[in-house]
C-alpha cells in the first residue's frame, strides 16, 4: 500500500514535469510592446501605443505580443525587454519616459533589435549621458502645440475664464501650459475679445489628490469655466470637481480622456497610435529614423485634439483644420520653457495670467 502511494506520487510529479520537454520549441513574436506601470487597457500610453502596433501588425500579418514587467523598476523593465527579445522580437515599443534608462541599456545589449521609445530620450540612470543608438528612436512631442490647440479651441468655443493646473514645473508640463495660454491668446486676438483670465498653478504632484480637487472646486466657484488638468492622473481631480456642476469643463491631457468623465470637453493629446504605426512602418521599409531623438509636432502629425469625441458647442472640424494647418506651416511660433520661467510673462492685452500659489 505504501509502495502504491509512492508510485502514485511519483506519477503525479512526472505528469507535472513532462511538459517541460515539449516546451523547448516556442513560438516567436516579431513586434513587441512592454507596458509601463498600469495595464494594456489604461486608456493612456500603453493602450494608445499598443493600438498603433496592433494596427500595423494586423495590416501586414506580423506576429505581435505585449509583455508586462514584474515590478516598476529599471531592472524589471529591462528584464521584460529581454523577455520580448528572447521571444523573437525584432522591434520593441516602450511607451513612457520611465523606459528612458532601460532602453538606454537595451539598445547596446541588442544592437540588432530596434527600439521605439515614446515620450522620452534614452539616457543613463544618473542622467549624465544621453545617447540614442542607431537601432533606437526616441520620440518626444511638441507639447506646446498640443496645449496651443486646446487653448485655442476652448476660447473659440466661447470660454473666457480659464485655469491651468499642472503637475509639476517640469519641461513637458510647462510646454503644455504655455501652449495653452498662447492658444487662448491667439483665439482672443482673432475674435477681438479681451479680458480673458487664466489661473495658473503647479500642484506639485502627478496624482489625483484631495488637495487638487479642492483647488479645482475653488477655481470653479470663483467663476473659472474650464480647467486644463495637466499631469498624470491629476486631471481626474479637476474632473471630479467639474462633475459637481453642469457647466464646468476640463481639458484632458496626453491621450483622449473623453472616456474618463462626461465633463471632459477635449484633450490636448499626443498622437501615439499614428507615431507608433509610422515608426514600425519606417522600420519595415528600411527608413527607420535610428539614432534620432525626435521632437514631433503638428508637422509630423504628432499632436492633436480628438475632435470626434470632443464636446464643443461651436468649435468645428473646419476651425480645427484651419488652425492645425497654420501650426504645420510654421506660421505660428510658440514660446516654451526655454523662453521664460514665469507664466505671468505671457500676459498680454488679451489675456491676464495669474500664477496661483
Amino acid at each position: 500500500m505504501k509502495k502504491l502511494l509512492s508510485i502514485l506520487l511519483a506519477a503525479m510529479l512526472a505528469a507535472a514535469l513532462t511538459p517541460v520537454m515539449a516546451f523547448a520549441s516556442s513560438q516567436t513574436y516579431e513586434l513587441a510592446l512592454v507596458t509601463d506601470l498600469g495595464t494594456i487597457d489604461d486608456r493612456s500610453f500603453n493602450q494608445g501605443s499598443w493600438e498603433g502596433l496592433v494596427q500595423y501588425a494586423q495590416e501586414h500579418g506580423v506576429t505581435h505580443k505585449y509583455y508586462q514587467p514584474k515590478e516598476q523598476s529599471d531592472d524589471a523593465y529591462l528584464d521584460s525587454i529581454q523577455l520580448a527579445v528572447e521571444a523573437g522580437a525584432t522591434l520593441v515599443v516602450t511607451p513612457g519616459y520611465l523606459f528612458e534608462t532601460p532602453v538606454f541599456i537595451a539598445q547596446d545589449m541588442y544592437p540588432d533589435v530596434k527600439f521605439v521609445l515614446i515620450d522620452g530620450y534614452p539616457h543613463s540612470a544618473d542622467y549624465l549621458e544621453y545617447r540614442t543608438e542607431s537601432n533606437t528612436v526616441g520620440i518626444q512631442y511638441a507639447e506646446e502645440q498640443s496645449g496651443f490647440l486646446a487653448g485655442y479651441a476652448v476660447v473659440k468655443d466661447g470660454f473666457t475664464k480659464l485655469g491651468f493646473m499642472g503637475g509639476m514645473a517640469v519641461p513637458a508640463v510647462i510646454r503644455f501650459g504655455y501652449g495653452f495660454v498662447q492658444g487662448a491668446e491667439y483665439a482672443a486676438k482673432e475674435m477681438g475679445v479681451d479680458g480673458l483670465t487664466i489661473n495658473y498653478n503647479y500642484t506639485g504632484v502627478f496624482a489625483a489628490t484631495p488637495e487638487a480637487q479642492a483647488l479645482a472646486a475653488t477655481w470653479f466657484n470663483d467663476g473659472v469655466e474650464v480647467i486644463f488638468g495637466c499631469g498624470g492622473k491629476l486631471g481626474n481631480s479637476a474632473m471630479a470637481a467639474a462633475e459637481a456642476s453642469q457647466d464646468k469643463w476640463v481639458v484632458g491631457v496626453d491621450v483622449d480622456q473623453s472616456g474618463e468623465s462626461e465633463r471632459v470637453i477635449t484633450s490636448a493629446a499626443k498622437a501615439l497610435r499614428e507615431l507608433v504605426y509610422q515608426s514600425i512602418d519606417a522600420a519595415y521599409k528600411d527608413e527607420f529614423p535610428g539614432g534620432q531623438s525626435l521632437l514631433v509636432g503638428a508637422d509630423r502629425g504628432g499632436v492633436e485634439l480628438p475632435m470626434e469625441s470632443s464636446r464643443f458647442k461651436t468649435f468645428s472640424q473646419e476651425d480645427y483644420d484651419a488652425i492645425y494647418a497654420k501650426l504645420v506651416s510654421g506660421e505660428i511660433t510658440l514660446k516654451t520653457d526655454a523662453d521664460t520661467d514665469n507664466p505671468e510673462d505671457l500676459s498680454s492685452e488679451y489675456i491676464i495670467v495669474t500664477a496661483v500659489k
Binding site: 500500500m1 505504501k2 507535472a16 495595464t39 514584474k70 529599471d74 529591462l78 541588442y110 496624482a207
Partner: protein, 384 residues
C-alpha cells in the same frame, strides 16, 4: 498485532512536507484547468513553463526567484510568527512601507555613518520603524482589547498615506518620477551574488537583482525557528497562542506576549520593506501611489503554506516566488498577463490550503488502515 499492510503514522515533519506537496499539486492542477480553458493548444506547454519557474531564465532567472522570495520569506515569517502566538498579523504591508521609508530616510540623511555601513544603519532603521508600527496594534490589543486585525488594517492605511505624505515633504522625493530617489549609497550589497546569478547577453553581464538580503532573510528565518522552539520566550509565546487561559494560569504575562509578538512581526516586515527598497538606481523605489504592498499580503499564503514553521516558510516563499517567476515567463506563450496573474494566484492560494490537505491525509490514512484491517479479517487472520 500484525502491522503489515498498514500505514504507520508518518513523522510529523514528513507529513507536513507531504501535505504541502500535495497541496501544491492540487494548486497546479487547478491552474492547469485555467490554462486549458483560456488557451487549450498551449496548456501543457504552459504548465511546463510554470513548473520550470525561475529555471526558464537560466542562472539569472534563479537569482530573480531568490530576489522576489526575499521579502516573502520575511513577511511570511512575520505572519507565521503571529499565527504561532494566536494572532493574525494582516498589517505587514503597512509595517513594510513604514520600515522602507525609515530605511530610505536614514540611508539618505545619516551622513555621519561611513558609507560601507550605511545600508546596515538604514536596514536597522527599517527594522525599528517596522517594530514600532507592529507594536501599535499590539498595544491596542493588549490594553484596549481591540482586535489586531482591525488595528492592523488601520495601520496599513495610516502607514501608506503617512509615508506618501512624508516622502513628498522630505528630501527623498524624486518629483519627476513621483517616487523616492535612488539609494545607490545605501543599497543592500550584492555580496558576490551578481557573479553567480547572471546570464550573458552578448558582451553584457546581465546580473539578477538578488542581493545579500536573501542571506538576511534566511538567517532571520533560522533565528525565528530557534526563538520559537528553543527559548523560554518562544515557549511563552506559543503557550499564549495555544491557550491564553493556561498561559495566564502559568503566570505568563500574556499582554506583554501579544505586544512583543506583534512588534517582532512588525520588525520582520519592516526589514522586508527595507530589503525591497534599499535598492540602487535600477531597483525598486517607493512610488507615491495609493496601493498597499502586495508582498505584505502575500506573507499570508506563504505562512499558511509553510504551516507557520519558519523553515517551512523559507520553502514556501521560494515556491511562491518560483511559481510567480514561472508565470512571468509564461508571457512567452499566448497568454495575457492578466490571465497569468489569475493562474498564478489560483495556484498559490490553492496551495495555501495545506492545512486542510493535512487533515484530509490523516482521514485518508485512517480509512486505509480500516480497509487493511477488513482485508486481514477477510483472509482469516485474527488480529489480536
Amino acid at each position: 498485532m500484525d502491522r503489515r499492510g498498514r500505514f504507520a503514522p508518518l513523522g510529523a515533519g514528513l507529513a507536513s512536507a507531504a501535505s504541502s506537496i500535495i497541496a501544491i499539486l492540487v494548486g497546479l492542477a487547478v491552474g492547469f484547468a485555467i490554462l486549458l480553458a483560456t488557451n487549450p493548444a498551449q496548456a501543457v506547454r504552459g504548465l511546463g513553463v510554470i513548473a520550470m519557474g525561475g529555471f526558464n531564465g537560466g542562472m539569472k532567472g534563479i537569482g530573480q526567484v531568490l530576489y522576489y522570495a526575499t521579502p516573502l520569506i520575511l513577511t511570511g515569517l512575520s505572519v507565521g510568527f503571529c499565527f504561532k502566538t494566536g494572532l493574525f498579523n494582516i498589517g505587514a504591508p503597512g509595517q513594510m512601507i513604514v520600515g522602507a521609508f525609515a530605511g530610505i530616510w536614514v540611508g539618505t540623511n545619516a551622513s555621519f555613518v561611513p558609507p560601507p555601513l550605511l545600508w546596515a544603519a538604514a536596514l536597522l532603521a527599517a527594522a525599528l520603524a517596522g517594530t514600532l508600527w507592529g507594536a501599535i496594534p499590539g498595544l491596542f490589543k493588549a490594553m484596549l482589547n481591540v482586535h489586531e486585525v482591525i488595528a492592523c488594517i488601520m495601520c496599513n492605511y495610516i502607514g501608506m498615506y503617512g509615508v506618501n505624505y512624508l516622502i513628498k515633504n522630505s528630501n527623498v522625493y524624486d518629483p519627476l518620477k513621483n517616487q523616492t530617489i535612488d539609494m545607490t549609497r545605501a543599497a543592500i550589497p550584492k555580496a558576490g551574488l551578481d557573479n553567480i546569478f547572471f546570464s550573458l547577453k552578448g558582451r553584457f553581464h546581465d546580473a539578477s537583482s538578488v542581493n545579500a538580503g536573501i542571506f538576511i532573510a534566511l538567517i532571520l528565518a533560522i533565528a525565528m525557528h530557534v526563538v520559537l522552539n528553543r527559548t523560554v520566550f518562544g515557549y511563552e509565546l506559543k503557550a499564549c497562542g495555544l491557550n491564553r487561559f493556561a498561559s495566564r494560569y502559568a503566570g505568563i504575562r500574556e499582554k506583554r506576549g501579544v505586544m512583543l509578538s506583534l512588534a517582532i512581526a512588525g520588525g520582520l516586515s519592516g526589514i522586508a520593506g527595507g530589503l525591497m527598497f534599499l535598492a540602487p538606481a535600477g531597483g525598486l523605489h517607493i512610488t507615491v501611489v495609493e496601493t498597499l504592498l502586495a508582498q505584505g499580503f502575500n506573507g499570508i499564503p506563504v505562512a499558511l503554506l509553510g504551516l507557520s514553521n519558519p523553515i517551512g516558510i523559507i520553502f514556501s516563499a521560494l515556491f511562491v516566488a518560483y511559481i510567480d517567476q514561472g508565470g512571468y515567463y509564461l508571457q512567452r506563450l499566448e497568454y495575457m498577463p492578466q490571465i497569468i496573474d489569475v493562474i498564478i494566484a489560483v495556484i498559490i492560494y490553492f496551495s495555501a490550503f495545506a492545512l486542510l490537505m493535512r487533515q484530509a491525509i490523516d482521514a485518508l490514512r485512517s480509512r486505509l488502515n480500516r480497509r487493511a484491517d477488513k482485508r486481514a479479517r477477510g483472509a482469516g487472520e485474527e488480529p489480536v
